[in-house]
Symmetry: C2
Subunit: 367 residues, 2 copies
């Protein structure tokens, strides 16, 4: 049993089932090669961390035909940034660099206010600032990247959001998101705000510009609606490319900010990282003796997942880790120690860039 | 049979029934006297054109106790301004002058876009400009009056609107407005935008300031919801004072912009006014002979209603007209001719003020 909605990801996700449920397409080899030709190789593509899409082929065609395209992704500022958030952002940067395209980065502070019962505007404002630093730290091109904060940039978004809202009935959001009579009317309206950036550049330039949305597969329902609306408003349907979730350190479901200890935050200290990784679930055996004999189970292991998703980008080296684990040569303790070192070394650099990002915020907001 | 909702007024309205249906209170003599003591006499109060309220007594108390209060009214820019629109605005000006209070005047351009299937943003923008000139022409104090256009002032309104929206469920708007599964999600959200100005000053000043909303009785449902939300957000409940509708020149229901010929627009030429009034339904008899014998029926007559609501503010003179009509002395033709003259004389002045208003728009928007 698993559940994937834009606001809840639970259980062990069966991605094959999800593909059928959502009606998305796998990225096939031909498409992968075309993207690589434009943007270069990327381990997330190769490993099928980014694994499904809608109309990604059309984006590639547009690019090949020298038509303008743009990227749109986002963040709901309900807490600090964790490593799982960074994956689609890194991939977005890879696409931005490769396709040399504009990027709209939406911060849905309104969403988090409406969907989190106990989160105040003040908290959300604080997380918005924090999250922006992480985004900027990844090195997006400030000349091509515009951060949109819903409540701050509402003047651009709202006229478009109500055009969109006019084309969506309660039936639709009820069916797609499972809303009911007790759902608050802000939540009911919200998907229009999420859809707006998918058409914003077309609207501003009065020209049909297709947009590509890299996002977690859980966000797909919003854009299924947006794609239906696109036709009604005569905009190009937004294309999507979806990623899987970095597993929780407890090994099930998506890394969630509500379980602070199962998650590495970008602001974590080396000690916190150490504690969290040392406490992580693994694919190891009950005793070292048993592990030496039978080998570990990397396919079940969140520590291995961290190498796979993030901390070992070299395929050969990753295979070596897998082999060592399965053969019983690599024991969880040393494997964890190595991961801790890699995470801390990454975070040390990231935290420096995050500090420097403080001076750049304005550039990203003013575009 | 009649129907009164914020978007539809149909049939011959039974105001006594409406009072029970909506659960509003009549303005009693004691309250009327208190208002007169503060703001002076007003024919709309005396004639019970403004006839019901919610918590108007609390506004009076606040004023007497030197607590700040403010006024809030609005306009949905779905067409030109007609005489029926002016009545509550004149009354609002009377209250502003008397209570020396601030006024927020909301232009709900988003509402009209969401509720009128075939109205474009361009049309609505044009009507917004036109309507503002009529508002400003009435002489509101620019130092105390702030015109809020929803899509333009959305940055102030939206954060408050989503606080409000978070407290309203689909059940509520379904029950109050008769929405269903096919209602678009913009309409579902809209009542939060309508409620926002009722709390905006409290929010901005971080202080509990009670607001009084003069409006047509049809707008009451929005504010019933707003009053419920007020408690949940710890704002004072907005007070209301409601007016009846200037009848259509055909004698039934509210003057409606969809029946252009049953309505006098502020931009009408003397010829148009003449044509419309000459074509109006009256309380007259089939023949002049019969009318001389039996007298007319002013209580059924939209021409008389125009005197009553607007063009004869002197009670004694109004009574004289009624008497002359009922006795058969006053015949429809001459009564209409006199009304035409009064309307045209009013419009001539109004249109001049409307021209001058063009230079003042900025003052009202910038506050």
């Amino acid at each position: 049993m698993f559940k994937v909605t834009p606001w809840e990801v639970e259980g062990k996700i069966d991605y094959e089932k999800l593909i059928k449920q959502f009606g998305v397409r796998k990225i096939d080899e031909k498409l992968e090669k075309k993207i690589e030709k434009i943007a270069g190789k990327n381990y997330m593509l190769e490993r099928k961390i980014f694994f499904t899409h809608r109309d990604l082929d059309k984006i590639v065609n547009d690019y090949e035909n020298r038509k303008e395209i743009y990227l749109y992704t986002g963040r709901g500022p309900s807490g600090g940034t964790h490593l799982g958030h960074l994956l689609p952002w890194f991939f977005t940067k890879y696409l931005q660099d490769g396709f040399k395209s504009k990027l709209l980065f939406q911060i849905t502070d309104d969403e988090k206010f409406l969907f989190k019962e106990n989160l105040s505007f003040e908290d959300i404002g604080k997380y918005t600032k924090e999250n922006m630093l992480d985004i900027i730290a990844l090195g997006f091109d400030p000349k091509k990247t515009r951060i949109i904060i819903d409540t701050k940039n509402i003047k651009e978004l709202y006229p478009l959001a109500i055009k969109i809202a006019k084309k969506i009935t309660f039936s639709t959001v009820k069916a797609v998101f499972g809303f009911n009579n007790e759902t608050n009317i802000g939540r009911i309206f919200f998907t229009s705000m999420q859809a707006a950036p998918a058409f914003l550049l077309s609207e501003e330039k009065n020209k049909k510009i297709r947009c590509l949305i890299p996002c977690g597969i859980d966000q797909d329902p919003h854009f299924r609606i947006a794609r239906d609306v696109a036709e009604k408003l005569d905009y190009p349907k937004p294309a999507l490319v979806h990623c899987k979730f970095l597993p929780s350190l407890q090994g099930e479901g998506k890394m969630s900010a509500s379980q602070k200890d199962n998650t590495i935050y970008t602001s974590d200290s080396p000690e916190e990282v150490k504690r969290k990784i040392m406490n992580a679930f693994t694919g190891g055996r009950a005793t070292i003796k048993e592990q030496r004999e039978k080998g570990g189970e990397p396919e079940k292991c969140p520590v291995f997942a961290y190498y796979y998703f993030f901390f070992e980008k070299d395929n050969k080296k990753l295979e070596a880790i897998r082999r060592e684990c399965k053969s019983g040569k690599r024991i969880c303790g040393e494997c964890k120690a190595e991961l801790i070192e890699r995470i801390n070394s990454f975070l040390k650099e990231h935290q420096k860039k995050r500090e420097k990002a403080k001076d750049k915020v304005k550039e990203f907001l003013e575009q």
